[in-house]
Symmetry: none
Subunit: 159 residues, 2 copies
Amino acid sequence: MAKLRNHPLRQFGWSILLYGLGMGLLLVVLQTARYRFLILDHAQELYFGLIALLFTGIGIWAGRQLTTRLATTPAKPLSGQALVQALDKLGITPREYEVLQLIAQGLSNQEIAGRMFVSLNTIKTHTSNLFSKLDAQRRTQAVQKAQAIGLLSGTHPKV
Amino acid sequence: MAKLRNHPLRQFGWSILLYGLGMGLLLVVLQTARYRFLILDHAQELYFGLIALLFTGIGIWAGRQLTTRLATTPAKPLSGQALVQALDKLGITPREYEVLQLIAQGLSNQEIAGRMFVSLNTIKTHTSNLFSKLDAQRRTQAVQKAQAIGLLSGTHPKV
DNA sequence: CGGGAAATCACCCGAAAGTATGGGGCATTC
DNA sequence: GAATGCCCCATACTTTCGGGTGATTTCCCG
């Protein structure tokens, strides 16, 4: 084992870890940089501004990753409790339902994998199980059937 | 063929402006605060960390604002004359609209070809043109956008 | 008549999607 | 502690999609 892996950077599972590491590293870099060639007390404001801007951007990115997970789950698709029963009846797990919602929003498997911080293969597994439970062969068919049953709320244009 | 129509982008209002102003103000506050009761040079690292954290949070908040604003596109039924106008505005031909409806019902290109008594390649051409007119990359995305505009009626439990 | 739009079909090619199978980790339950 | 269910990941393989290009026919319009 541990030889050549066929996945250079495709996996998003490490996103959070990388984010944390990157953040810490950036801080260190900024710190050292400050004590080297930018000792000007005058540039103090600049630092704050730059850091603020940078981390605002990072925050927006991170937020985009998180919002879908947070936003889709507590959304009121059909009838709350009735929804749970319907899902339970079909044997659809929470994770699979998440995938279903993202599929309905027109996302690709790769994009879904990125948003849920899991591997593309995992998404494929989820979709595969989901399709069999919904008795569908294609994602469009799955969405259609899910909407027909009422599993999905109104359309949410993302992108 | 494949002509590109105009796709006006959505405006975000002046929330960005307010955000910028708020950010600048926050910086000023932080600055003055630093020179008053927090003059410890020792806390330098803390400052960066706190600011980073703070603005990451702000970024997440801002990102959430933007995405939700995008997500609140009206999903009206739309029918009759208004439908024709909407289709005409997008440059969607009758044949393409037929394909769109069948796609929304979860059919594959092969199945659509069978139902419309044409070649699979013809369906591919239609879908391709349709996607460019709807500004979609995937069929699920096309369906989602079409529903958002109101081009598609309620879901029909076929199959 | 010539131009343009629509509809039809074809071919290639790379990227996604879907299928099948197996394995590991983890928590709950019996 | 064995069994179960969910989740995660992987490999291998086949099929479908989607993009690009080009071509033909028909029909309408100026």
